[in-house]
Subunit: 261 residues, 2 copies
C-alpha cells in the first residue's frame, strides 16, 4: 500500500477536508447547540461534533476506500489492529471550549500506515491556523516551516497540563508545574500540541485517547519532541494513557519524577 | 475635580495611549528582550515593561498633571491614599506570556476618583481587542457593547485560576475547580478579566496587586459581576489580596467554601 500513497497529496487532502469542515463549524458557532454528556458531566458532545465527524469520515472513505477510521464519535470502524492505512479523527477537540469559549478548539486528523505516523493535521478553527506535517514532509504552521523547538529544561518554560491532573496532583503534576515557569490549562489537547510544536510550551501532560494525540504525535516526533506515556514508554495507538509530550530535557525530568515512587 | 472630568473623553484618551503603546510593543515583540526577575524566578520584568510604563505615565502627566499614578514598575508616584484622580497602570500584564508565548498579555489602565472607579481599559495586545468602560459608560469590546453575563452557578461554567493557587490548593481552589466545568490557566489577570466580562468564564481567582485588578474591577462591577477578596470583603486599592471575581452565584459559592473552615 505504501507505494500507492502520495504523502504530499494525502496531507493536502486532509487539509482540504479539515478547512472545509472548519468553515462549516464557524458558520454555526453561535447557533443553539444540542449538548450531551458522555463519560462525565464535563465530557461533552454536540450535534456539531457528530455532523463534523460524519462529514470527515465520508470524505476519507471516498478518497481512501480501503482505509480504516478511528473516530471519537463512533462513525468510523471498529479497529483492533494497525495494519494498513488508519485515519484517527477528532472532529472537535476541546468541546467544552467550543461550547463555552467559542474558541480554543481544534479539528484533527492523523494518518498512520502500519502503525507509523505519515501525516498529522491540527486546525485551530477560530484562529484559522493549520498545523500539518510528518516525517517525510516537515512541520508547518500554514505555509511557514516550524523549526525544531529548543531543547529547554522544565524550569525554563511553560508546562501545559489538564485541569484534573493538576487539581488531583496525579503523577507528581504539582511538583512538575512547580519546577516549571508556570502551568497553562487551555482545555484542548490539539491546541496544547500546537503550543509545544511552536516552542511556546516546553511540554504537555494529559490523559488522552488515540484521536487526541494521533495528529500531534506525528508532528511532534518530526520536530524531535518526545511523545510517550508518563513513564516514558511508547504509546499504543489503540488505548488511552496519561500522555507526556516534551522537549528531550523536559520529558526526561518529568519521567524522572515518576521514578521516585 | 469631578465636574471637570469628561468621562467619555477620559476613556477615549486612555484608549489612545494604550493603543499607541500596543503598536510599539507589537513592533518589538520578537526583539531580544532584557528579562529580569523580581519577587521570584517566575515574576519577570523586561525593558519593554519599563519603557511602556514610562511612556504611559508621561501621557497621563501631560493630560492630567494633578492626577497621581500607581504604576507596576515604579515610574508613578508613592500613593498612600485615594483622594482625587488616581491612575493605576500595568504596562505589560502577563510578562511571562509576553516573553514565552508572544501573546495573551495585556496593557491596562484604571482611573479612579476618590477611590471610585471611573474608567477601566484592558487591551489584549496581540488579539488587538480593547475592552473598556465604566459605570457611566457601559462596557465595550471595541465598539460592541457587552451584555451583563448570565448569573451562572460555579457548576455551569469555566473557572479561571492562577497556577500557584491551584497547584498548592490555596483557599479550596481544588474543590472550587472540581465543582466547575473546568479550570483554565491563562497567565494574565487582564486576559482572565476579559474572559469573565464576556461570560466565557464564570469567575477568576488569583493573588493580585491593585494594578492587576483596577481596570478589570471597574468594568466587572459595571456588568453586575462581584469583585472582592476571597472571603467576600471589599478590596483595598492600595494592597494585594487573593481576588475573586465572579457572577453573583459563582462568587457566593466560592466564598461559602472559605466559610467551612
Amino acid at each position: 500500500m505504501s507505494e500507492s500513497i502520495n504523502i504530499w497529496q494525502l496531507a493536502s487532502e486532509i487539509k482540504f477536508w479539515i478547512a472545509a469542515a472548519a468553515e462549516n463549524v464557524k458558520a454555526h458557532l453561535h447557533d443553539d447547540l444540542q449538548v450531551e454528556t458522555k463519560s462525565n458531566r464535563n465530557d461533552l458532545v454536540t450535534n456539531v461534533d457528530k455532523l463534523t465527524e460524519k462529514h470527515l469520515v465520508g470524505e476519507i472513505r471516498r478518497a481512501y476506500p480501503k482505509a480504516r477510521i478511528v473516530g471519537e464519535e463512533g462513525f468510523g470502524d471498529q479497529v483492533d489492529d494497525l495494519a494498513g492505512l488508519v485515519f484517527f479523527v477528532d472532529p472537535i477537540d476541546g468541546t467544552m471550549n467550543f461550547v463555552k469559549e467559542k474558541e480554543n478548539f481544534a479539528i484533527m486528523i492523523g494518518a498512520y500506515l502500519d502503525g507509523i505516523g505519515l501525516v498529522g493535521v491540527i486546525m485551530d478553527v477560530v484562529a484559522g491556523n493549520i498545523f500539518w506535517g510528518g516525517p517525510e514532509l516537515g512541520v508547518y504552521k500554514n505555509e511557514l516551516a516550524l523549526p525544531k523547538p529548543q531543547n529547554l529544561n522544565l524550569a525554563d518554560g511553560l508546562l501545559g497540563v489538564s485541569g484534573p491532573l493538576l487539581r488531583k496532583d496525579v503523577r507528581h503534576m504539582a511538583t512538575a508545574v512547580g519546577q516549571s515557569s508556570g502551568a497553562r490549562i487551555i482545555g484542548s489537547a490539539g491546541i496544547e500540541f500546537t503550543k509545544v510544536l511552536q516552542g511556546i510550551e516546553n511540554g504537555y501532560v494529559s490523559h488522552l485517547m488515540p484521536w487526541d494525540f494521533a495528529a500531534g504525535k506525528v508532528m511532534a516526533e518530526t520536530l524531535g519532541l518526545l511523545v510517550t506515556d508518563i513513564d516514558g514508554n511508547p504509546l499504543s495507538m489503540l488505548s488511552s494513557k496519561i500522555v507526556l509530550i516534551g522537549t528531550e530535557r523536559t520529558h526526561a525530568q518529568i519521567v524522572a519524577l515518576q521514578q521516585q515512587d
